[in-house]
């Protein structure tokens, strides 16, 4: 991950700015929920929300919208700049080669790496780098605040999510294996398209179209079987996952509702817990997927590292 470290270090100012905007944005989002809690406590008992509270809520939502826009711009600019540095570092490596090393290069392979691996890495930076960081900040900030509001409810409602995470890891592996088999079958089948075009004259001359169609049909049948297996596995596991992800909401109502009935917690706080459950349990459920994405990204970065020269600032 030295390459990522070098890239981030080169643009540390932009990275820190984006992180700061993200932290402030999540802070404002939590502040919005605090306003919401106050309003709900008032209106649920038939009262009217105070003008000051309404104005504060309006200002908060305007600020939140502005910060989301700013976060989009900052993370966009930072990610695109990191991608530019990566591309330039890649080109710089080739520009610095001597004549012997340049002659030994496989141009097609180098261009393919630019198009595929660097595009994958840039795509990850663009779509996921700051969203992972954003999720982490959101999770930590929300979890900390909820712990401060009601530690017992926070822990008991979210502990089962740890088990759900384990389920997500196992189910992802099972789906991944089925998907890999389907992909292998797909590659074998796609190869027939190339064969058809390549041997077309012979196909015509020796009337061999039925032979090739039969072979293609066999590969297609194997692909169908693998594809159907993958889809069945995915449907069952993802449906169960979606069902199990209702657990945090159930627990919040059952345990939190009991606390509200007993008078140890307000309705507004319960509402905020429900509103923010996505920030905690939702992020936790996504962690295995994010880790898998990051692993693929790290593998690509490792492959690229010897061929990228990042100039220190």
């Amino acid at each position: 991950m030295r390459l990522l470290q070098n890239l981030l270090h080169r643009r540390i100012g932009l990275v820190v700015l984006t992180l700061c905007v993200s932290v402030v944005s999540i802070g404002v989002s939590l502040w919005w929920n605090a306003q919401l809690s106050r309003i709900i406590n008032t209106v649920s008992t038939g009262g009217a929300a105070a003008a000051r509270t309404v104005v504060t809520a309006c200002a908060t939502l305007l600020l939140s919208a502005g910060l989301n826009h700013a976060l989009g711009l900052c993370s966009g600019w930072t990610c695109e700049t990191l991608a530019h540095d990566l591309r330039l570092g890649y080109a710089r490596h080739f520009a610095a080669l001597d004549a012997q090393a340049a002659a030994a290069l496989n141009a097609g392979e180098a261009l393919s790496a630019l198009q595929n691996e660097i595009n994958d890495v840039s795509g990850f930076l663009r779509a996921n780098l700051f969203s992972i960081v954003d999720d982490l900040i959101r999770f930590l900030g929300t979890f900390a605040w909820l712990l401060w509001l009601n530690p017992l409810l926070t822990l008991t409602a979210n502990l089962p999510v740890v088990l759900l995470m384990g389920y997500t890891v196992v189910s992802s592996r099972i789906i991944g294996r089925a998907a890999a088999q389907s992909q292998q079958a797909n590659l074998r089948m796609n190869g027939f398209a190339d064969t058809l075009v390549t041997v077309f004259p012979v196909l015509r001359l020796f009337d061999a179209a039925p032979l090739l169609c039969t072979r293609y049909g066999a590969a297609l049948t194997a692909w169908e079987a693998a594809g159907i297996r993958e889809e069945r596995v995915r449907a069952r596991l993802m449906s169960l996952s979606a069902l199990l992800s209702c657990t945090p909401l159930l627990l919040l109502f059952w345990l939190g509702g009991a606390q509200v009935i007993r008078g140890t917690m307000s309705l507004g706080v319960l509402y905020v817990f429900i509103n923010l459950s996505g920030n905690v349990s939702g992020v936790m459920m996504n962690i295995p997927g994010r880790i898998a994405q990051f692993r693929r990204f790290a593998a690509n970065m490792q492959r690229l590292a010897p061929r990228v020269s990042v100039v220190k600032p």
């Binding site: 309003i39 695109e80 015509r204 319960l270």
Partner: protein, 322 residues
Amino acid sequence: MRDLQALLRATGGWRRFALLILLRSPFDALHTLVRAVYLQAAFNAIQRGDARGLGISCAVFGIGSLLLFLYNGTVWTLYATHTVRWIGTVRRKLFAHIASLPLAQIEAQPSGSWITRLNADVQAAAALLSQPLHLPHAVCGMVNLAVSSLVLVCIRPAIWGLVALFVVPHLLISRFVIARPMTALAESAQQITAQNTADLDALITCADTAILYDAQDYLLERFRRSSLALRRANMRMRRRSACGAGLYTLLGLSGYLLVLLLGGAWIAAGALTFGDLTAAFQYRGGMIMGAVMLTNSLINCRAALAGVRRVNETMQLPKEGL
């Protein structure tokens, strides 16, 4: 959609598709209904101080969710199986058809074009029926939007009006100000990407010449300029997305706040309970999600229909001897 009809008529299985899509369509709407009823019952029970009632509504929600996801899993499996088999049929027919074309026709186009027809075009056409946010999700979104709207109009027309007041401009701005220009911006970014790749190609294939004439810095500078142009092109798209993110927050939260304050007034007047209001929020969410899903799916369907069109064109090429 006429292209899709033509393809389905040629390959068969359209009745089963129609049935399975219909069976899939109510899932989101039912999910919204189940959550809304649960929240309504749970909050009402909490406000009444009825712990037993709360327990019952949690249990009913658990059972309802179980049945709902069981239904969804079953229909999903049947649909996905049928889709895979249908794609197989399309591929078989297309392969056999191409194998029966005259050699002159095959040689008149680059081999890559035929490989694209057999692989990429079929995948694009199949995406219409098998990928997320395409035809099935468009139907689901439409049903969710319709059901949520209907329920909201029945329980509180004023809330429906407020929701529509915020959702419609959001969708129009998302579609015409943000999404539509993105196509042209994405094409421009692709052209600049091609130029950037060409600049790297020059660095690699002309390396000998560059070393001889000390032109490596010149070639690197060309690459740097095209890379910066690519950054600018991508940022134009990111700016639009950032506008979308800000807009979504602004319209979403302000609509939420207005409904909350209006609902509060009704609660104060005794016309509504807090549980009823939270249910209304669920239907509001159903309307928004349904509308967004429908809009996004229709955009994706348009792109996928290009693949369907190309598959149909290939299937209509005259065979040898005809």
